[in-house]
Subunit: 210 residues, 2 copies
Amino acid sequence: MPTNLSDKTVGRLSLYRRLLNSLAKSQGNYLFSHDLAAAASVTATQVRRDVMAVGYAGSPIKGYDVTELAECIGRFIDGQEQQAVSLVGVGNLGRAILAYFTGRRPNLNVVAAFDRDPHRVNRVIHGCRCYPVEMIEETITRQAIRTAIIAVPATEAQPVATRLVRSGIRGILNFAPTPLRVAPNVYVEEMDLTASLEKVAFFARQQSQT
Amino acid sequence: MPTNLSDKTVGRLSLYRRLLNSLAKSQGNYLFSHDLAAAASVTATQVRRDVMAVGYAGSPIKGYDVTELAECIGRFIDGQEQQAVSLVGVGNLGRAILAYFTGRRPNLNVVAAFDRDPHRVNRVIHGCRCYPVEMIEETITRQAIRTAIIAVPATEAQPVATRLVRSGIRGILNFAPTPLRVAPNVYVEEMDLTASLEKVAFFARQQSQT
DNA sequence: TAGATTGTTAATCGATTAACAATC
DNA sequence: TAGATTGTTAATCGATTAACAATC
């Protein structure tokens, strides 16, 4: 119902859902906001605010029904039907991403992978069919795929992104170490491993000096 | 010199440095703030603010000297000596991370990897020696490593993090899909691939509906 | 009821953006 | 000089946090 959810809120909701599923086993079927907050490393108020955003109401005595809340978040994030994902770049990182997501989210499947290397195409890798990059437009349009993961070298990321958007992609998870410029109606999440590791190294150094 | 740099600022600086190195080849040796801004997908004011933070001064006529600025940022982020990194978890994702960082940053090397699986230990993978997890404390303490990457299953992430911090680790890049709770003097960067992909899928769905 | 939690509003905090005098 | 950019301050924006009445 709330149409404008922030980036961060959606990320936290995704995390809550997973935590709920694992907490339900160890703890009971009811949780208070501070239980969930502790598991997610956020504040209890933040949890209340986020849960409120999906329109689920807890009880002041019992707290939140774990099963119902998880389902409610699921309906909210996943929508009605299954969502197909495509992957461009089946190198070391691309294959690891494929393996990572295989069977992890039932409603979120990588159904098509693309690569330039002739040795990788026309094979099934981690249960996903790998096509040549020339077939990006045709495959994505035909299967009406809206989400893509980019795991190609930095120099190729922008042209690939442009082709993807032209084919109908509206959300991109970008592992290439360069920012993408796309139309404003396309959501891009940058996963810059180099920048992240440098940040960690920087603050680690700073901490150990004090 | 500026002691309190924000998380995001350091990340952008890391990006600028890489962009500068590649821009220097295609463009000249001087760049204006809006050139760098366009490449990094931020505003020119943001670039000026960030550059100012590392203490480098540009010229109103020439702009920024690409080589000098890149070196200045490098000195700032990397510090004086090389920085060693450790990796825990040499599964699909761990190996891809190893391959990714090998030779990419000269000052940032993964020098020790750890795994529970006897088939993976005591081997050299992508140029990095792999030890059994029992040797975490000894190895990290002896080599005075301050930075670590966690790529183990969610259930093992917290105990691994605790051991790492006890051994002297002060910065963690966490790929395990669960938030870590550590002492406040330890910097943790969460890399939650599942949450990121769900975010992308969510906004892609929302965009294509409008 | 008393107590702890809930949904929700108000205050705070920090980062981003806009604006402008100083500079070459 | 005129012009475009710089460093830097002030205004804006948004998210987080704190506070509180309502609820079981």
